[in-house]
């Protein structure tokens, strides 16, 4: 019990998740239902996948604002390419080149962002702010402002399919969460992520190649953004050029709620998972209670600021602080 308590203190967002879970379970009869839990997992998987990559980038002390646009590009590529004449005879296998192209676009855009940050030394915020506009431009150029629809039903069936009792998309998300957790907590690259974000100079002095290291994390977040685009488009069976607008804001919100510091050096996938679930449960629960979506925006914004405020109060160093 004591262990559970210290764990909660270190991951306060899970306390919040528990709180709203109990609240909605008590106050709404439709909430506590395995089917609804599956819905929540599927609904959160899109933001969740991006948030996994964003956590790495933010622990590095960077940020990626271009994920929403990357998501749209990957979704558009995946759906468009699987409909190409060349693959007409491939049957359902035609999906494969589409998905691969989508994922590749994410990886390449991530690599581009990372490379620019590495070589130019321009702040990641500015680099990815530019990319956010530019990649959205690419999406519009590629799609000519058109929405694409998946002609192959196998594609949208995937989005609605299940693995055993769980929806495939939920399984995919949880699986990648586990992999990213292991990457971050067990691998040399993952551990160096903390070093680079926590004390860049120490990392450089210790011979960690900071530039390529950050590039890899940008590639990872690009990959996850593309993957999220593909899973989202399987749910819709379609892609629109405006897909994923403001997702960067939601993702950053989730990651910050999960306890990752903007200044870098700290954060965990478990925390991010909590942040993602908090947003998912709030949206779902309030939706079930027929609270208009508008209020969710207000409440989420307020919670984000409140969490930041509490964090500041808790870490304040008592009376010895200089009043600057």
């Amino acid at each position: 019990m004591n262990n559970a308590l210290t764990w909660l203190l270190r991951n306060p967002i899970w306390g919040f998740v528990l709180l709203i879970f109990v609240f909605f379970s008590v106050s709404n009869e439709f909430f506590f239902d395995p089917q609804n839990f599956k819905n929540i997992l599927v609904q959160t998987s899109t933001i969740g996948l991006i948030a996994l990559g964003m956590t790495l980038v933010m622990i590095n002390g960077n940020i990626d604002l271009s994920v929403g646009a990357t998501l749209a590009l990957a979704a558009s590529l995946a759906i468009d390419i699987q409909g190409w004449e060349v693959f007409a005879s491939w049957g359902s296998w035609a999906i494969l080149p589409g998905v691969l192209a989508g994922l590749l676009s994410g990886v390449l855009l991530g690599a581009l962002n990372g490379f620019i940050v590495w070589k130019t030394g321009v702040d990641a915020f500015i680099v990815t702010l530019g990319a956010m506009l530019g990649v959205r431009g690419l999406v519009f150029i590629y799609t000519q402002e058109q929405s694409f629809f998946a002609m192959n039903f196998a594609y949208s069936d995937f989005g609605a399919s299940s693995v055993g009792p769980l929806p495939t998309l939920a399984v995919l998300f949880l699986l990648f969460a586990l992999i990213t957790h292991l990457l971050l907590s067990r691998t040399v690259h993952g551990r160096n992520t903390y070093a680079v974000g926590g004390n860049r100079e120490a990392a450089v002095n210790a011979g960690i190649r900071v530039g390529p290291h950050m590039l890899i994390n940008f590639v990872i977040v690009g990959f996850f953004a593309a993957l999220a685009g593909i899973t989202l488009s399987t749910q819709m069976g379609a892609s629109t050029p405006n897909l994923g607008r403001e997702y960067e804001l939601w993702t950053i919100t989730a990651v910050v709620l999960g306890g990752t510091k903007l200044s870098g050096g700290s954060g965990t996938i478990i925390g991010t998972l909590g942040g993602v679930l908090a947003i998912g449960i709030l949206r779902n629960g309030m939706n079930l209670m027929q609270v208009p979506a508008f209020y969710v925006l207000v409440i989420l914004g307020t919670i984000l600021i409140a969490v930041l405020f509490l964090d500041k109060q808790l870490t304040r160093r008592g009376k010895g602080e200089l009043r600057t």
């Binding site: 691998t187 040399v188 551990r191 903390y194 002095n205 210790a206 009376k319 010895g320 009043r323």
Partner: protein, 503 residues
């Protein structure tokens, strides 16, 4: 001992920064198994020398030898690979990682798939920590360690390689006495293993405890090497201070006016407690003590940056509550802060704007800043303080340390304060500017200012003060007039020995 091959040898190292010749042909060697202390005043070039050794700075001239092999050390990593490790004065650890990971940062042992081999990592780190007699495990997160233990992690990092020379830069600054004993044991063990130790400190007692030889730097130049067992503090001090500075005792007493500022039982827990002192117009009151003794904190409290937990501040014999720096300024208190770059200046701004910043709200004509008035103030204090800057438009960050400090002083003189507090007036500036600033402080006192000078440099305190308050661990140990103070009783008072008012 001298026929041994030196573990590390420097020959004629020169390093210049714009405006400062930080190292001027320094030669220095450390033998295997020897602890060689390096001394020098603030600004003498010790840290620069260390950074050259650790591969963080490249020397402009001169050569470095490791075991008589000439080497180039382009990065800290190269230095470490060749066996020269610097234990930083400022800790360079990643807080959210374990001690073991920090020790092996950049070279974590790997298994398949790039996984960290935790077993090997913890075993190897545990071994090193055990050798250092650390009471925490390698899996402890660094953010949960005390500063002393963090330093142990830094030291452990040095032991991961086959170190030829380990440099300790002010290692005891934040250690308790018990922790110091442990540190010295470690240094002795390293010596026994044939490692050469370079030990930088300003604490004489430590240097006489631990070092075999000592070398002295002054004004960026090498001044000599002594065998510790054959010398004494006097000789070392003479070598350090030299004759280049007039550090004669202050004997002139200005006409003293009324009490300008007084503190009664002033406390700010846990930084200082029950502090009593006063300063008169025309008087310089010196505060002397070790870092962390609470001197700077008192200044910050007088200036409204901290709120006292109890006690009174009296200005012209009337009790005041100083709510904020703006409030302090309005009451005629000025503070020249300890850290010029962090607290004193906006480095990206020009000279004039920095100088007029505290009074910019009063320098207006209608809604606009009065340009002429501003430039007049700048010109006045530029001439009075002999500030050397190309023009008032020059960006302050481009000036030398001495001129920067004069801008800060000018900025506060321009406020025409009743009480001027100067914290570390000459930290990190060249010798010439030092004596100018000392003279200026005396001159200001003669013209009626009440001045409080806080300094970590004893000669400076002795040189400028009419009275000296000695502090130790947040308490006033003793107050001296300039007639009764000696270096001995001052050192004793700030070390917590034999103070009159020790509580």
């Amino acid at each position: 001992m001298t026929d041994q091959t030196p573990a590390l040898r420097l020959d004629g190292i020169v390093k210049t920064f714009p405006g400062v010749r930080a190292l001027d042909g320094v030669s220095f060697e450390v033998l295997p198994g020897e602890c060689h202390a390096l001394l020098g005043e603030n600004g003498a070039g010790k840290s620069t020398l260390m950074k050259v050794l650790a591969g963080m700075h490249q020397p402009d001239e001169g050569r470095i030898f490791i075991e008589e092999q000439e080497v180039v050390l382009p990065t800290p990593l190269d230095a470490k690979a060749k066996g020269v490790v610097l234990i930083h004065q400022e800790l360079s650890l990643a807080e959210e990682m374990t001690a073991a990971e920090n020790i092996f940062l950049g070279e974590l042992p790997r298994k398949r798939f790039g996984m960290v081999d935790w077993k090997t990592l913890f075993a190897r780190a545990g071994e090193i920590l055990k050798k250092l007699n650390c009471d925490f495990g390698p899996e402890t997160k660094v953010s949960r360690l005390s500063i002393a233990k963090k330093q142990m992690v830094e030291i452990a990092r040095a032991l991961t390689v086959d170190a030829k020379a380990v440099i300790f830069d002010e290692p005891t600054a934040s250690l308790t006495d018990a922790e110091k004993v442990v540190l010295f044991d470690i240094i002795r063990d390293l010596k026994a293993d044939g490692v050469g130790i370079v030990y930088i400190s300003h604490r004489m007692d430590e240097i006489f405890t631990i070092s075999d030889r000592l070398s002295v730097l002054r004004d960026g130049a090498y001044r000599g090497t002594l065998v510790t067992a054959e010398t004494d503090e006097d000789e070392v001090t003479r070598l350090m201070i030299g004759r280049s500075l007039d550090y004669s005792r202050n004997v002139q007493h200005a006409e003293l006016g009324d009490i300008a500022l007084e503190a009664r039982n002033l406390s700010c827990d846990p930084l200082f407690r029950d502090v009593n002192f006063h300063v008169r117009q025309g008087e310089v009151l010196g505060f002397y003590g070790l870092v962390g003794a609470g001197r700077t904190e008192i200044a910050e409290t007088l200036f409204g940056l901290r709120h006292p937990s109890s006690g009174q501040i009296l200005l012209d014999r009337e009790e005041v509550h100083v709510a904020s720096p703006a409030d302090a300024i309005a009451r005629g208190i000025s503070l020249v802060p300890e850290s010029r770059k962090e607290q004193g200046l906006v480095l990206g701004m020009n000279c004039r704007d920095n100088m007029t910043l505290p009074q910019i709200g009063d320098l207006t004509a209608g809604p606009f800043v009065a340009n002429g008035a501003e430039i007049a103030i700048y010109d006045q204090y530029r001439d009075r303080l002999e500030i050397k800057a190309p023009s008032w438009r020059s960006i302050v960050g481009n000036l030398s340390g001495g001129n920067q400090q004069k801008i800060v002083i000018g900025k506060w003189l321009a406020m025409k304060p009743r009480v001027l507090i100067v914290d570390e007036p000459t930290r990190g500036i060249d010798v010439g500017s030092k004596s100018e600033i000392h003279n200026l402080i005396r001159e200001l006192a003669r013209s009626g200012y009440a001045i409080i000078v806080i300094s970590s440099e004893m000669p400076e305190v002795l040189h400028v003060s009419d009275r000296i308050v000695a502090m130790y661990q947040g308490r006033v140990m003793r107050e001296f007039t300039s007639d009764e103070v000696t270096e001995d009783n001052l050192v004793q008072a700030i070390s917590g020995i034999g103070g009159e008012r020790a509580a």
